[in-house]
Symmetry: C2
Subunit: 217 residues, 2 copies
Amino acid sequence: MTEVAATGISVLLVDDHPIVRQGYRRVLESQGDLHVVAEADNAADAYGAFKVHDPDVVVMDISMPGASGLEAIRNIRARSPRARILVFTMHNEAVLVKAAFSAGASGFVTKSSEPSAVVTAIRSVARGERAMSDDIAHVLAEDSLSPTGSVLDQLGEREIEILRQFAGGATTEQIASHLNLSVKTVQNYHYLIKTKTGARTDAQLVRLAATCGLTKI
Amino acid sequence: MTEVAATGISVLLVDDHPIVRQGYRRVLESQGDLHVVAEADNAADAYGAFKVHDPDVVVMDISMPGASGLEAIRNIRARSPRARILVFTMHNEAVLVKAAFSAGASGFVTKSSEPSAVVTAIRSVARGERAMSDDIAHVLAEDSLSPTGSVLDQLGEREIEILRQFAGGATTEQIASHLNLSVKTVQNYHYLIKTKTGARTDAQLVRLAATCGLTKI
DNA sequence: CTGCTGCTCGGGCAAATTTCCCAAGCCGAT
DNA sequence: ATCGGCTTGGGAAATTTGCCCGAGCAGCAG
């Protein structure tokens, strides 16, 4: 790798909140071996920054406005299979975790984890290992044992993404433009999600998303 | 008052959850001076039970299916101005508290309060005093100081009630029949609430209701 | 390889709902 | 007495929903 890698681990921070990025940057840099070489606040910029800086690890929040973070993962991995991506988000739904790993993520750490867990995970991921925080391991473990998975398990990745944005308050048009879909498609997903989950009302959908941790409120 | 009153305080419990009523009944009766003489699980039955048993204090959850608990309070007070009503609910929004007191309630205690707070409040209310739990006092105090009140302060009582039921997952028809309104009126309220609060989406409305404590999720 | 299945994406269309404007009764305040 | 605000609903246009459909594409079993 580059000389940067020789002297430590270079990191690309992707998160839509500047203050958050600033905070994490300080935490990571105080470690000595971690260097934040770039930041991005959306999925599109993330790949551009990745190409320019070729970081050892991408630390990415997948709940950003704009395209799905999962798509960003796939984008980066498709063009740079050696990329190491650590998902760092507040969500802890098993479906989301599984989707992230199958999209090519190397690790998954929740924002409620100790700062040290993030640092540890970054080092693990940089070594090419898989990493996840304890709570994620528990969620995954629970999920693998439960025959009757979460309601969200019935939903596809696109459906999850649309449900998240919808429950977050986005309009149909906003979701359509975020995801580059036709309004019609989003409407169809909306309907599909309702029938799959059994929600009779948009409000029930929001509550469902909230109780499943898809949305914070 | 009756001989029952002479030997203690008679209580009418109004709550839509049987288990909840059962639990409170035990708590209250273990006090020695409190006697639950009747229960009701809806607003309509509440007045009937009140007439029959003439309790010293009505302990009432105002978030029940059917007519608004506030209407039940007005009903009872209109026919029996000497009635003492203690509102006992999980909601702690200033608007709701104010609405309850102006509807004729003598006290307001949240369900998150210590059991002893309820007992104390019942005794206070029975003596003709006003009573409220500490958290309610804080909410009211905060509210009186804040020039920029909660978004809910823009809403009328009916609007609040409809918003609560809507955010709770009820369909327009269900709300209409609960409140004995035409579907059309509920739709108009729905629209009015959205414009008043600035919510562009049903999901935003639910989130608003949740952050204001109108709904638990 | 060949089907099968499931996800994604969207068209179509009738039925339902939402949006927005308006009116009337009621009640409290000025 | 009048004004404003709450409550209740009608009406009509605009949108969305509910369901049905087909196509492309990936993965997977036979």
